[in-house]
Amino acid sequence: MQLPRYELIAEKTLMVFEFTSEGPNGNIQKLIKFSETSLKNFYNLAFGDKDIVSGEIDDTVVSNNGDSEKVLATVVASVYAFTNKYKDVLIYVTGSTKSRNRLYRMGISKYLVEIKRDFHVFGLIDGAWEKFQHGKEYSAFVAKRK
């Protein structure tokens, strides 16, 4: 899957990535972070906009920069880089809002065939994990590199 994506910058452990979204609302710096959780090898993936002045990160802001697909492709690229370095990890993702979750779900659904070549993907629904299926309203996702 070689979709258009932004150049990724990272620190050497590949836990934190940065890229710049370009669109009608200007250049917006985005930060991606893979955070440790209470379980070894279970990482939370989150990303948001970086305020250039304060350096603060906001994962609730809607950038409306007309490039959501390219942004998601860039985040997926960071998952490839991270899971190439850390082979046995599980990546947990949930959106800040229902609409953000819907965006993630649509992104996974659209490229599910390609994603499943390289990852096991699961969705959380009704308090249980199941293999990701089209058309279901998952509240969170887990991916593991094959």
Partner: protein, 51 residues
């Protein structure tokens, strides 16, 4: 050329390293998401097939 082909097959992006990002590694950003992940781990656990 062979290396580039391998990279493309693996969907691996080219990543530029910038050490100025190191400050974010220990910074507790997205902590609400991490808390959510821990809560799901506690209440739901892992997907069965990869337990």
């Amino acid at each position: 050329m062979k290396d580039i082909k391998i990279l493309n097959q693996k969907n691996l992006p080219v990543v530029r390293i910038d050490n100025s990002l190191e400050k974010y590694v220990k910074l507790p950003i997205f902590q609400d998401k991490v808390d959510n992940a821990n809560e799901v781990l506690r209440t739901v656990g892992l997907p069965k097939v990869i337990k």
